[in-house]
Amino acid sequence: MASRQVRKAETRERVLAAARDLFDEVGYEATTIRAVAQRAGVAVGSVFTTFVGKAELLSQVMQDRLEALYAELEQVAPHLRGPTVDRLRSIMAVHYGFETRRLRLFVAYIGASFHWESGNGVIPIGRNDRLKAVLLDILQRGIERGEVRPDADLTMFVDTILAAYIWNYRLAPQDGADASTMIAAMDRQMGLLFDGVAARPN
């Protein structure tokens, strides 16, 4: 890579890291582009040559984080052991564990993304196709092992569990809930929903 491109990539990384830390420390609203530039040690102008604005920065920070998480989940999922319902729970527990390390950032993202139009370099909340694919794959294996009914509506199962997953974050900022509280809530929700797709003994 030409040195110019290397520098550009480095600036981008530094800006994203600074934005991630500031969003998490002081919140999305209170974070300014100027503060991001300062923390990253770059000129305000170079933030704008890389990103359109704050919304795109937040979106990109989240996409990078989720990219890494999903890659990990995809790698781990085929090696999970135990009943299907517990495999699903494990995936969600890893997810909560990961996001609660930067809870404020994640909650800021959910709130802010409701103000975004699709496109414009930003991705609204709920576009988590890779997570859905991991869950679907576990359910599919559950069918093969006779634990899940073959005629169960798996897409709707995943859709509904992810609705509960997102709203569990509402517990977090107000009630000071930590990862284990949210994981416990999800375990119960997963159990209830799984009863609907579980193969019944004849």
Binding site: A108, I110, A152, L192
Partner: protein, 199 residues
């Protein structure tokens, strides 16, 4: 109610109406207290006599919508089947919000960042929505349509989660009321699937 209290109540209603119109047409950020006062034909001071700031005004607009929905849900007749009754009740929410989607979008964003006092007031209303859903589920259990092992509180909360999550489809993907309703119907089905008493 005294004459004074009545006048105060009327001012409050007028402000809520004006705020709703402006939040809907301009969005939360662009609607200023000054604009809202002038839309209501009142002074800026009158706004602050009733509400401490714009966030509180907005929160009260959202809560007024929830109250309207609660009243409408309460008047839904038992449809015979639990799933159908739940669907009819919650679809009323989609119909209500469909008319004012920009307001709903702003409210959704706001709901993640409001302060704890406003959040608590909002949750009190949400708990009443959940309680109405729980009533319907309980009746389903009583008449033997649903298994007695159904966790009613958990299921009613998950119904609300599913209902709320679908607003994203309306906001970002342009889904119509019918599409939202159809999605909710499937979600109700998967939520109750494990607890339908054997026919």
């Amino acid at each position: 109610m005294t004459r004074r209290a009545l006048a105060k109540q009327r001012t409050r209603q007028r402000l809520l109406g004006a705020a709703r119109r402006l939040f809907t047409s301009r969005g939360y950020d662009a609607a200023t207290i000054r604009d809202i006062a002038s839309e209501a034909d009142l002074s800026t001071g009158a706004v602050f006599a009733s509400f401490s700031d714009k966030a509180e005004l907005f929160n009260e607009v959202i809560i007024a919508d929830c109250e309207t929905l609660l009243a409408a849900m309460a008047s839904v007749a038992d449809a015979g089947s639990t799933a159908e009754t739940l669907l009819r009740m919650l679809s009323l929410g989609y119909e209500q919000h469909y008319e004012q989607l920009p307001l709903t979008q702003a409210a959704m964003g706001f709901s993640w960042v409001r302060d704890s006092q406003h959040e608590e007031r909002y949750r009190q209303v949400l708990r009443r929505v959940v309680a109405q859903l729980a009533d319907v589920l309980r009746k389903g259990v009583e008449r033997g349509e649903l298994s007695a092992s159904l966790d009613v509180p958990l299921t009613s909360e998950m119904l609300l989660d599913a209902y709320l999550s679908n607003f994203r489809r309306a906001i970002f993907d342009g889904w119509t009321n019918d599409a939202l309703r159809e999605r909710l119907e499937s979600q109700i089905d998967v939520l109750l699937a494990g607890y339908r008493a054997a026919a």
